[in-house]
């Protein structure tokens, strides 16, 4: 029989809720690191939030940062170990709310790191509160009647903000809702790590994800909701690509 | 021996430079020294003062309110610290800018027209070094040559400033010898 799929050796059991796409994000990273043969040089800086659960599943050197501070921790690591591969894995509460200063300034300094930003529009680990990326009218445990823009503002488009800075060399957003998008996501994750290997500076990949548990949906329905609500607001594509002339 | 000196004036009069040079020269002379610049959220050109203690044993407090010597470069500074001088202490007064009479009794007063003398030498910025010369000449607290060397070292990369500063420093010595090495205040040791 022909072997057409092999699970990455650097990922163990799935640590996430059933139907959650975080597991897909982790798997893509693991596959890319292994394919590029950099998994033995990689150091993963984990966030506070659901992303922290990777501490149980990724068989890489890893450190759990304080909430939002992963880009600062990654700065210290990468400046100390320029030949290693340092990346952060952060959620939307971690990166776009409490860690906004750290991500903007790490990007602006052009730190030669890779940032994987998993955006599921909600605080998952703490039980479904309003996130900076929660959609307009979307309900959460702290916005029971939906996100009201007059008091809660609009969902923050992080990839667009990072794109405005001079230093970053690759900024992209993909979605994990379908096989087609997952393949595209893996391609851009690979580019983001190659960028670091080639000393090209700061790369930022935003991955749209779901949260069936806190969106209170069946996994399959959460994917439909992503397609009809999330993706139309957070447009997919490569926003900045210095190597590719964009 | 433990001697406390306060140097006070406007920002820009080289107050801090003077304090540091005395500290460097004392260290070079194998004496103990502390220099403490009073710092604060002050605007450029505001008041500036620093405390310098020289001793032959471990120095405790780097800041004193009983001073052996005061170098006052402007009037507000003089007024502020006048009564911190101990009896038989010495004032070194920039008489170009300080026109008020000393009220503190039992004080040596050395009136040196430092700003005017400095302008005659090169420019007003060397007034502090005229005062330093007068101070070292009158108190003999440090060796003249060591202080001169220290000035030269301090301005290693600014030879022109070093030259002018040393001329100003010598002028200070000349002023004290003109005064016969003595203070000139009527109320001295009354």
């Amino acid at each position: 029989m022909k072997n057409i799929y092999k699970k990455s050796s650097i990922i163990s059991e799935n640590a996430f809720c059933p139907g959650c796409l975080h597991g897909v994000a982790s798997k893509l990273i693991a596959e890319v690191l292994e394919e590029l043969q950099i998994h033995q040089k990689a150091i993963c800086v984990l966030p506070v939030g659901c992303g922290t659960l990777n501490m149980e599943s990724l068989k890489l050197d890893r450190v759990v940062a304080a909430h939002g501070r992963a880009p600062a921790v990654a700065t210290g690591l990468k400046r100390s170990l320029p030949d290693n591969i340092v990346f952060t894995y952060q959620g939307d509460g971690d990166l776009a709310s409490i860690g906004l200063a750290e991500i903007i300034h790490a990007a602006n300094r052009g730190e030669n790191i890779t940032v994987i930003f998993v955006n599921n529009s909600i605080y998952g680990m703490t039980g479904g509160q309003l996130a900076p990326t929660t959609l307009v009218q979307q309900q959460s445990t702290t916005s029971k009647f939906g996100r009201n823009t007059s008091t809660m503002g609009y969902p923050i488009k992080m990839a667009e903000i990072i794109t405005q800075l001079e230093s970053p060399t690759l900024v992209a957003r993909q979605s994990l809702d379908s096989p087609r998008n997952i393949i595209a996501a893996k391609k851009i994750i690979r580019r983001a790590f190659e960028n670091q290997m080639n000393h090209k500076g700061f790369s930022f990949v935003e991955l749209l994800s779901n949260c069936p548990t806190n969106w209170k949906m069946k996994p399959i329905d959460s994917l439909d909701w992503m397609r009809s609500n999330v993706i139309p607001y957070f447009e997919l594509g490569i926003l900045k690509d210095v190597e590719g002339g964009k | 021996m433990e001697n406390s000196l306060l140097i006070a004036g406007f920002g820009g009069q080289g107050i801090m430079t003077l304090g540091q040079i005395i500290g460097y020269a004392a260290t070079k002379s194998h004496l103990k020294a502390t220099y403490y610049p009073s710092y604060g959220a002050e605007q450029r050109g505001g008041t500036a003062n620093c405390a310098v203690v020289i001793a032959d044993q471990e120095i405790g407090s780097p800041v004193r309110n009983k001073l052996n010597h005061i170098i006052a470069m402007n009037e507000p500074s003089f007024k502020r610290f006048e009564y911190n001088l101990i009896d038989q202490g010495s004032f070194f007064i920039n008489s170009s800018l300080i026109k008020i009479t000393v009220k503190k009794e039992k004080a040596n007063v050395y009136n040196i027209a430092a700003s005017e003398l400095a302008m005659d030498i090169a420019n007003i910025h060397s007034a502090n070094f005229v005062m330093l010369g007068a101070y070292i000449a009158a108190t003999k607290i440090l060796d003249k040559n060591i202080v001169a060397e220290t000035i030269d070292d301090y301005f290693t990369h600014k030879k022109e400033i070093a030259k002018i500063s040393l001329i100003a420093f010598d002028e200070g010595f000349r002023q004290i010898s003109k005064l016969g090495g003595k203070g000139c205040h009527d109320t001295t040791f009354k």
Binding site: T52, S80 | K66
Partner: protein
């Protein structure tokens, strides 16, 4: 060894370089600015890394990252910045990462004033959430600031823990002669725990969080034992003219050196007075106060550049009300003089009557 006349902040920075500090991240705040300013060019010169963080929060997390990589790391700040670094210090302690944190203290809560103060004593006793301690070293001269900073790196590596050097605005801003220590050339081996990529070994994790509650509790027990061991072996205290003293001044840092001048003046008048100066704030030298000859000592004056007194809490634990303990301080960034201390001693103990 030749002596250099150096500013406290710059001397601390140079001492860190000589202790092998390879990574510094900081953020501007008075009165410690000369530390990052000096290291911004000096670390470059010796092949180290300097990063000016976007905040104190970022700076402390940058040293957290560099410490994970096994580097000797330092950050410096003053009171308001220490509040922001408290988060990172707690994570450093919980993740067992060595680091040196310098606090050049100023006066007042909130923004207070940039002028000198000893207002962070209570704070550094446990500088963050979750119940942990760090060793706290408090210099009273520029030379001691150099020596204790140098030592702090070794203590941090020994315990795999953050260590605080608690200076104040006077020590930071003043200049004094120092003899600098030699450049260190041997360091503890950290290869067994650092992160540098899982090549030919199992992958590692550095984390302050664990789902294994038994493991977490074992760590808490370890912390308890570590802090107790500090009390047995790391206490440093200076006794100055105190052996026959009838009156004791208790002070640390700048207020202690001011007290020394007051004591010399009073000793010349035949008054039996001395100083007990904690050099380690944590572990605190309780024994120096427990073991006072209480048949001879009549009273203690705690002098600090802050109001209200903060160190009195620890002094009282040592003295246990056996003799009167008074406090004297200046707030608002004012510095008391030796004469001010003498006046206060006369007021509370009628010394010169």
């Amino acid at each position: 060894m030749s002596q250099l006349f150096m500013k406290g902040n710059e001397a601390i920075a140079e001492s860190a370089v000589r202790a092998g500090c390879e990574f510094f991240a900081g953020y501007p705040i008075t009165p410690q600015n000369e530390i990052p300013e000096y290291l911004s060019w000096r670390l470059d010169e010796v092949g180290g890394v300097f990063v000016q963080g976007e905040s104190e929060v970022a700076a402390v997390n940058m040293i957290y990252g560099a410490s994970c990589a096994g580097k000797r790391v330092m950050t410096s700040t003053s009171g308001p910045g220490l509040s922001l670094k408290a988060e990172g210090i707690s994570y450093l302690a919980a993740s067992r990462l060595p680091a040196v944190i310098v606090d050049v203290a100023r006066t007042g809560a909130g923004l207070g004033q940039i002028k000198p103060g000893q207002n962070d004593y209570w704070f550094v006793k446990s500088p963050g959430h979750g119940g942990f301690k760090t060793i706290v070293l408090a210099p009273h001269t520029v030379q001691e600031a150099v020596d204790l900073t140098y030592m702090a790196f070794d203590l941090a590596d020994r315990d795999l823990a953050p260590v605080i050097v608690l200076a104040d605005g006077v020590i930071g801003a003043m200049m004094e002669a120092v003899t600098l220590p030699p450049f260190k050339d041997t360091y503890p081996d950290k290869t067994s725990w650092i992160l540098n990529g899982a090549e030919n070994r199992e992958s590692r994790i550095i984390s302050s969080v664990t789902n294994d509650l038994n493991k977490l509790e074992s760590f808490h027990v370890y912390q308890k034992e570590l802090y107790e061991s500090w009390g047995r072996k790391d206490v440093m205290v200076e006794s100055f003219m105190a052996s026959d003293a009838e009156y004791i001044i208790a002070a640390y840092g700048t207020s202690a050196r001011i007290a020394k001048t007051a004591i010399r003046i009073l000793r010349e008048k035949g008054i039996k007075i001395g100083l007990i100066r904690p050099i380690t704030i944590v572990p605190f030298p309780y024994e120096a106060f427990e073991d006072l000859p209480y048949n001879n000592v009549k009273g203690i004056l705690v002098t600090e550049l802050c109001i209200p007194s903060q160190m009195i809490d620890d002094i009282q634990l040592g003295v246990l009300k056996r003799i009167p303990v008074h406090t004297f301080g200046r707030g608002g960034g004012f510095i008391f003089s030796p004469e001010d201390i003498i006046d206060e001693l006369n007021k509370v103990f009628s010394l010169e009557d």
